[in-house]
């Protein structure tokens, strides 16, 4: 069955450092991989989307890589700030059909400390 794995343990880092979160998947051939941010009691907020033929995508302090051979995506936040503290979700979407269904990972909680 399809499986998406993210670090279940919380990631604690110091302000100003780079946070790196991992998303691994099995039994899936996604066309798109997305990263969302979720704050407690709130809905996911879209951050970045990367397509299967793209290796890297950047947006401000965020960077995503996508390795379809390793079946892995890395999500980086550079110069991290306490305001970046949240749970980050990886989500996969198929190429065709599927009604744009997103399959989410369990998320990794990031805590940026002063």
């Amino acid at each position: 069955s399809q499986k998406i794995e993210q670090n279940s343990e919380a990631l604690n880092i110091q302000e100003g450092k780079t946070a790196t979160l991992t998303c691994n998947y099995t039994n899936y051939s996604p066309a798109y991989l997305q990263w969302y941010r979720q704050d407690p009691g709130r809905g996911p907020v879209f951050l970045l989307l990367i397509r299967e033929n793209e290796k890297e995508k950047r947006k401000e302090r965020l960077k995503v890589t996508f390795d379809t051979t390793l079946k892995q995506s890395l999500f980086h936040i550079t110069a991290s700030q306490p305001a970046d503290s949240a749970t980050y979700l990886c989500a996969l979407a198929p190429l065709t059909g599927g009604g744009n269904k997103l399959t989410f990972g369990t998320g990794t909680q990031l805590k940026v400390e002063l």
Binding site: Y32, Q34, Y36, Q38, G41, R42, G43, P44, V45, F46, L49, L89, A91, A93, G97, G98, G99, N100, K101, L102, T103, F104, G105, T106, G107
Partner: protein, 116 residues
């Protein structure tokens, strides 16, 4: 900035009752979705809706559930005969249709459903 809205923010109901969760998607969006998140678990897809019909539904979305777009702005999820295990946060989402498929989805703040 346009956003997805959902009402109510919290719904408490007794087991066996019917509930209707309401959503107003972003106005120029054409794909609509419902997801749910049981406390402490991952966000799970329920159903997607396009052109006034269901595009895809998950195994969770059985005959107990139905969706409707009763007018040009609202999108509803009806849960009949609620069970304790239906307690969860329910998220509505929408996405635009552009020249190519756009898969980023915009989520609402959620409705917390508590079944007692």
């Amino acid at each position: 900035e346009p956003e997805v809205t959902q009402t109510p923010s919290h719904q408490v109901t007794q087991m066996g009752q019917e509930v209707i969760l309401r959503c107003v998607p972003i106005s120029n969006h054409l794909y609509f979705y419902w997801y749910r998140q049981i406390l402490g678990q991952k966000v799970e897809f329920l159903v997607s809706f396009y052109n006034n019909e269901i595009s895809e539904k998950s195994e969770i979305f059985d005959d107990q559930f139905s969706v409707e777009r009763p007018d040009g702005s609202n999108f509803t999820l009806k849960i009949r005969s609620t069970k304790l295990e239906d307690s969860a946060m329910y998220f509505c989402a929408s996405s635009p249709l552009t020249s190519g498929p756009t898969y980023e989805q915009y989520f609402g703040p959620g409705t917390r459903l508590t079944v007692t």
